[in-house]
Symmetry: C2
Subunit: 310 residues, 2 copies
């Protein structure tokens, strides 16, 4: 096995468990996730667009986030603008609620005098909870059904739900999804407070908060932060917070220090085969394959870009 193939296998072992370790044992069983990824073509993958990639730099390392302007154009533009004016630099992770979310923002955000000033970006924006369906917007449906929405699937590499009658489509609160916290008013968010899902998908938040991206690397940095002991998992003492060193748009970072990743396209036969392999686990270990898969259990594989390897 060459280094490239090995990295692929390792990448999915690290993220998604049993399959890789069992690959050697299951050579006779065709179409496991391991085999599908190993057989994927370069064109099955898309590099992250540096304009739509955020680096959240924490003391423990870098969290890489992909933004999705097709679903939240104003929020994505505003978070980009906030990052570019250094809004987040020196702020903190304020909240870590078990089985729910981690959230970062301004510890003094409620104090008009002490709060971090905003230069060109917006403090609040109209909600972008959902959007109209469109022939231009790809939708790869999942036939397995869903408890919360009439239809679910994937669009541009993100988990989504859709209501065909209302012709609306929206991002869903799966593990790792990035949202813009808000107060009581629907239009009180905007991106100054951002959260990431670290537990069982809180799908009741769908269409109640604007989602705008997904963590594609570094989830373990967020998910292992000590939980806050205050209400909603807020830290009770300032020293419990984790400092945000900076949030940068990848395009603004020198190429040599970028994290070069690519994501499996969700509008490809390879992705459909992968979903099927996860729905009907063919690894020898499984005794009762379910034949079904929940939207938020479908992996959207990410790997180091081949071009970036020596």
């Amino acid at each position: 096995m060459n280094r490239h193939a090995l990295l692929l296998v390792l990448a999915f072992m690290l993220s998604w468990g049993f399959a890789a370790q069992l690959q050697a044992q299951s050579a006779a069983a065709p179409k496991t996730m391991a085999e599908i990824l190993a057989a994927s073509k370069p064109s099955d993958w898309r590099p992250l667009d540096p304009e739509n990639t955020l680096y959240l730099e924490l003391p423990a390392g870098r969290v890489v986030i992909e933004l999705v302007p097709a679903f939240a154009p104003k929020h994505v533009a505003n978070v980009r603008a906030l990052a570019r004016e250094g809004y987040f630099d020196g702020l903190s992770v304020l909240r870590s609620q078990d089985n729910y979310v981690v959230q970062w923002g301004d510890p003094d955000g409620e104090d008009p005098e002490k709060q971090r000033k905003i230069k060109k970006a917006q403090r609040t924006l109209p909600a972008e909870f959902d959007r109209a369906t469109s022939p231009d917007l790809p939708f790869t449906g999942l036939a397995d059904g869903d408890v919360y929405a009439p239809e679910v699937g994937f669009s541009q590499g993100f988990p989504v739900a859709r209501d065909p009658k209302a012709r609306r489509i929206w991002l869903t609160h799966c593990y790792g999804m990035l949202g813009a916290g808000r107060d009581m008013d629907a239009d009180s968010g905007g991106g100054t407070e951002l959260y990431v899902v670290i537990g069982h998908a809180p799908r009741h938040l769908d269409r109640n908060v604007t989602l705008l991206g997904r963590v594609v690397q570094g989830m373990e940095i967020l998910s292992t932060l000590g939980r806050g002991t205050g209400g909603m998992g807020f830290y009770e003492k300032a020293e419990e917070r984790t400092p945000v060193k900076s949030v940068r748009v990848a395009a603004d970072v020198p190429e040599a220090t970028r994290t070069s990743l690519e994501v499996l396209r969700t509008d490809t036969p390879t992705f459909l085969a992968l979903v099927d392999a996860r729905r009907n686990r063919r690894e020898e270990w499984f005794k009762s394959p379910t034949g079904h898969i929940d939207l938020c259990n479908v992996p959207i594989p990410v790997r180091a870009r081949a071009a970036a390897l020596p």
Copy 2:
């Protein structure tokens, strides 16, 4: 709305644990989870049975686990026996895989010479993946549907799925559930390696591994353990593991040092009202209540026993 009120409202909307204390502030909004719990009767709650309660003692504190013999009688009896002969004491948390499971057991378990010896308990047991339905076994159904099983609901305070045609019922891999790790053979588990779900419910494991309990306190101790960097989240170096100080049956611990908890009964009108309140969120913050709820998003409230309070 001032900051204090806002935080309070947000807290009870978003948290599973803080509802009761916020009841006073939400008097205007009928039938929220906070109000339902505040109005619950003592008989809506059941104390943990000390014979069916395990204390996993880690350096960061105690994890309290409720065992459920009705679904895995042999595994529960064996884990109790293992705990009573001190099998787990001094072993380690070996694995922490992001969005999946934490697992503890014997680092030398694969080495017949070095592995921890077992005195009276069993090393392996026949699988207890599911069991027959029975009129004696309560089932509180959830009408919201499920991606994986024909029916889902609750039994004896645990999330379950049911196949009425096959007349089988089984525990489901929701957040916090405890399972008995196994090797390739279905009957190779037994309780010497135990895992807890720390991510989005891996329901594809249902009926593939024996579940036998649920963490009712201390999940944050397990969920924040640093992730292992080896395959499947195993730690690569011995020093990365977390030592297991001991695992004890609560009945064997002096009463003064027990953790006195009670769990909301899932076969009560109070629990049904709570499910409805979570399905149709009535808190002002919610703009688009979903009207649906996923099995693993239903909270099963746990609180300190009133009798134990001063």
